[in-house]
C-alpha cells in the first residue's frame, strides 16, 4: 500500500472519515457547524451530500449534553464522531468524557461498549491567545478507559482515524491545527492503522528523540538537518498516549543511552514526565546522561506576537537541547543551526510552516 499522491493531513483525516462513514452506515457525525460551508476546517466537507445529511447532526452550543448524547447513541449501536473546533470546548464535557465515556465498559462489566470518536483540535498562532490554543492531552491521558491519540503525519492520520472509528472504545483524537497543513503521501484506498505504540520515523544511534503531534514535525527537521553532518537519531512519533506502549522507546534507549522528549503541551506534569520516568525505571543502567524534556513554559499562552516569541518549542531549541546530549563540534552545530534557520527564514512566528511537506 504505497502511494505517490500527496495530500495534507487535514485532507487525509477527511478522506479517512469519509471512507469509514461510507463503509459503515452506523457512523454519524456531530459538530457545531457539522454541515456548514467551512465544515470543521474542511475536514467534513461535502459529507452531507455523500452520506446523507441526516447522518450529520448539528450540535447546539451545548458541549456537555451533546457529548452525553453521543455517548448515548454509542451505547445504542451507532459510531458517533464528534468534532470540536477547539480542544478547550471539551472542558465543558469533561464529566461525560471521564466518567461515562471512559468508564462505561468497565463499570458495566463489559456489557456496554462506547465506540465514540472525539476529535479535539489544538489551536496555535495568529494571536489565538490563552483560551484557544491549549494542549490538554496530558489531562485526557490520565483517564483509563479512554484511548488518546495524536496523529502527526498524513498517512498515519488517515489510517488511525479509520481505526478510531472502528474501535469499540472511546478514542480522543487530538489534532494539532498546524499538523493539518503538513503534506505527505497518502494511499487513496481505505486502510486502517492500529492504535498502538509509537512509530519510529527516523533511524539512528546518537540519541532517542520522542515527540508528540506538531513537535514531531519540528523534530523531523532537526533529525534531517543532523544527517547532513553524519549524525543519525532514533526519532519516534509517540502517536498513542493511551494506552501507552513504550517498548520500542525502551529498545532504542538501550541502544543510544540518551533520551530527549518534546511535548506539544506544558513541560510540567506533561507527557514527557511519564515517558522519562518510565524509561529511567527500565533503562537506568543504559542511560549515559540524564534524559531531557522539552515543553511549554509554565504560563498561559499570550496573544501578542511580541509575547510568544520564545514560547513555543521549535527546531532550534530542540537542536540546542539535543546538542547537550550529543555534543557536536562547534562548526557542525553552527552549520546545522544555520540550515534550520534558513528553512524557516522570515516566516512569522504565528503562522504555520510550509516546510512540512512529505514524504516523511
Amino acid at each position: 500500500m504505497t502511494s505517490d499522491r500527496s495530500i495534507s493531513l487535514g485532507e487525509a483525516i477527511r478522506e479517512g472519515l469519509l471512507q469509514a462513514s461510507q463503509r459503515d452506515s452506523s457512523v454519524i457525525h456531530f459538530a457545531e457547524g457539522v454541515d456548514d460551508p467551512l465544515a470543521v476546517f474542511g475536514t467534513l466537507k461535502g459529507f452531507g451530500d455523500k452520506i446523507g445529511h441526516e447522518r450529520m447532526i448539528e450540535m447546539p452550543i451545548s458541549e456537555n449534553a451533546l457529548t452525553g448524547v453521543a455517548i448515548g447513541v454509542a451505547l445504542s449501536g451507532k459510531r458517533p464522531v464528534i468534532s470540536f473546533q477547539r480542544v478547550e470546548f471539551a472542558m465543558l464535557a469533561l464529566e461525560q468524557i471521564a466518567n461515562n465515556a471512559a468508564k462505561f465498559h468497565y463499570v458495566s462489566n463489559g456489557q456496554h461498549n462506547i465506540p465514540l470518536v472525539m476529535r479535539l483540535i489544538v489551536g496555535r498562532g495568529w494571536g489565538q491567545g490563552p483560551e484557544h490554543s491549549q494542549s490538554l492531552e496530558g489531562m485526557f491521558a490520565q483517564f483509563p478507559g479512554l484511548k488518546v491519540i495524536m496523529p502527526s503525519l498524513p498517512e498515519d492520520a488517515k489510517g488511525m482515524i479509520i481505526a478510531a472509528v472502528n474501535d469499540n472504545n472511546p478514542v480522543l483524537v487530538i489534532e494539532h491545527r498546524w499538523n493539518h497543513y503538513a503534506v505527505g503521501n497518502v494511499p487513496t484506498e481505505y486502510y486502517s492503522k492500529d492504535i498502538v505504540g509509537p512509530k519510529k520515523i527516523r533511524n539512528g544511534d546518537a540519541v532517542t528523540l520522542v515527540a508528540t503531534s506538531y513537535m514531531t514535525l519540528e523534530c523531523l527537521r532537526v533529525a534531517d538537518a543532523l544527517s547532513s553532518v553524519g549524525v543519525s537519531v532514533d526519532l519516534f512519533d509517540l502517536r498513542v498516549l493511551r494506552p501507552l506502549d513504550l517498548e520500542p522507546i525502551v529498545q532504542s534507549v538501550k541502544k543510544t543511552g540518551k533520551l530527549l522528549t518534546v511535548d506539544t503541551g506544558y513541560r510540567k506534569y506533561g507527557i514527557g514526565a511519564e515517558i522519562v520516568s518510565s524509561i529511567v525505571e527500565i533503562c537506568f543502567n543504559f542511560l549515559k546522561l540524564a534524559p531531557i524534556r522539552l515543553g511549554l513554559p509554565d504560563h498561559p499562552t499570550p496573544s501578542s506576537a511580541g509575547l510568544i516569541k520564545n514560547y513555543y518549542i521549535d527546531s532550534i531549541k530542540i537542536l540546542e537541547s539535543l546538542n547537550t546530549l550529543i555534543k557536536l563540534d562547534r562548526s557542525s552545530f553552527e552549520g546545522v543551526k544555520k540550515n534550520i534557520f534558513n528553512e524557516r527564514k522570515d516566516i512569522p512566528i504565528d503562522v504555520p510552516d510550509p516546510f512540512f511537506k512529505g514524504p516523511f
Binding site: 441526516e54 451545548s62 456537555n64 449534553a65 448524547v69 445504542s76 466518567n99 465498559h105 462489566n109
Partner: protein
C-alpha cells in the same frame, strides 16, 4: 390531555404488587444494612414507589430506562432481577455488573435498564442519545430519563431538553420531586416558579401529577409515550413525592433538623402503597387476604434473594483490571 380509561384488573394488581415489592425490598435493605455486609452507599426509595411503578409499568421491555443514584425502585419496576440487584449491592460476582458499581450504578441490559449514574444530571443526555439512535433508525422505542428535583439545576438538563425538542426525540423526562436535595429544601435552591415551566420553556409538553397516586402517574406516562411513539417528541413528567428515609443510608433522619416531623407525617399519610391498597380494596379488586398472601410471596422472594446475594462469591480481585478496554 388525560385519556379517560379504566385500568384493567390485572394492571391494577400489577401496579400494586410492584409498589409493595419495592417497599418490602427497600425495608429489608434498611433492616439488614446494620450487618455491614452491604458495603456501599444506598439511596432508598421508600415513599417514592408510585413514581417508579407508575412509569415503568407503562413501558414496553424494549423501552430504555436511564436512572440516577436512587435507582432500586426503577430497576425493580422495569422487571429487574432482585437477586442480581442485591448481589450487586453486596459487591458480589453475581451482581448485575459483577460488583463493579454497587447500588449507585445498577444496570442490566436484559431488561433495558441501560444505566444508573450517580453524578446528578449525568444520565439525562444519555437517554436523549438513546432516543436519537432510535429516531434515526425509525424504531418506536422510548427512552426514559429519571431525574430528581435537583437535576433541573444542572445545565445539562437544559442542554438536553433543548436538543430533544429540537429534534422531537422520543424521550420522557421523569422528574421525581421529593422536595429535597440531600438536606436542602427546594426553595433554597430554586426560585418560586413551577418546575414544569422549565420544560415548557423548551417547548416540551409537561404533565404534573400527584406522584404518590400510581394510577395518575401510569396514565400520564401512557399519554406521554403515545406522543413519543408517534414522533411528536419529548414530554416531561413532574411527580410530587417524598422520600421517607435519610438521603443516603438506611435510617430515618427527621431528628437532625432539616425537615419537620409534621411535614414527614403529612407525606407518610399519603403513603402511595397504602393509598392504592385502600383504593383496590374498596373497588373489590383486592381482598385483605390477597394482600397478605402477596406480601408473603414477596417476602419469600426477598429472603431467597438475600440468601443468594450473601452466598454468592466475591469477584476475584485479579479480575479488577479486566474490561478497561473493549
Amino acid at each position: 390531555m388525560a385519556i379517560i380509561m379504566k385500568l384493567e384488573y390485572e394492571k391494577s394488581i400489577e401496579l400494586y404488587a410492584c409498589m409493595q415489592r419495592i417497599r418490602l425490598v427497600e425495608e429489608a435493605i434498611s433492616t439488614r444494612y446494620v450487618e455491614q455486609e452491604m458495603r456501599c452507599p444506598v439511596h432508598l426509595s421508600i415513599g417514592q414507589e408510585a413514581a417508579a411503578a407508575g412509569v415503568c409499568l407503562a413501558l414496553e421491555t424494549r423501552d430504555k430506562v436511564f436512572s440516577t443514584h436512587r435507582s432500586h425502585a426503577h430497576y425493580l419496576s422495569k422487571g429487574g432481577d432482585l437477586r442480581k440487584m442485591l448481589a450487586e449491592i453486596y459487591g458480589k460476582a453475581t451482581g448485575c455488573i459483577g460488583g463493579r458499581g454497587g447500588s449507585m450504578h445498577i444496570m442490566d441490559l436484559d431488561v433495558n435498564m441501560v444505566a444508573s449514574i450517580p453524578i446528578v444530571g449525568s444520565c439525562i443526555p444519555l437517554a436523549v442519545g438513546s432516543a436519537l439512535a432510535d429516531s434515526l433508525d425509525g424504531r418506536d422505542n422510548v427512552s426514559i430519563a429519571y431525574l430528581g428535583d435537583a437535576s433541573v439545576e444542572e445545565g445539562v438538563f437544559h442542554e438536553s431538553a433543548n436538543f430533544a425538542k429540537l429534534r422531537d426525540l422520543p424521550v420522557l423526562f421523569v422528574c421525581e420531586n421529593n422536595l429535597y436535595s440531600v438536606y436542602t429544601q427546594l426553595h433554597e435552591r430554586q426560585p418560586d416558579r413551577p418546575i414544569t415551566a422549565l420544560a415548557e420553556a423548551h417547548g416540551i409538553p409537561t404533565y404534573h401529577c400527584d406522584g404518590n397516586n400510581v394510577e395518575e402517574v401510569y396514565r400520564s406516562t401512557l399519554n406521554a409515550l403515545k406522543n413519543a411513539r408517534s414522533n411528536k417528541g419529548p414530554s416531561f413528567l413532574l411527580l410530587d413525592t417524598y422520600r421517607w428515609l435519610e438521603h443516603c443510608g438506611p435510617n430515618f433522619d427527621n431528628d437532625i433538623g432539616y425537615r419537620t416531623e409534621a411535614e414527614f407525617r403529612i407525606w407518610k399519610n399519603r403513603d402511595p402503597v397504602i393509598l392504592y391498597k385502600k383504593n383496590l380494596l374498596k373497588k373489590g379488586i383486592l381482598t385483605e387476604e390477597d394482600t397478605v398472601e402477596l406480601k408473603c410471596e414477596i417476602q419469600k422472594e426477598i429472603t431467597a434473594a438475600f440468601d443468594f446475594a450473601k452466598n454468592s462469591p466475591y469477584p476475584d480481585h485479579s479480575t479488577a483490571i479486566n474490561n478497561v478496554y473493549a
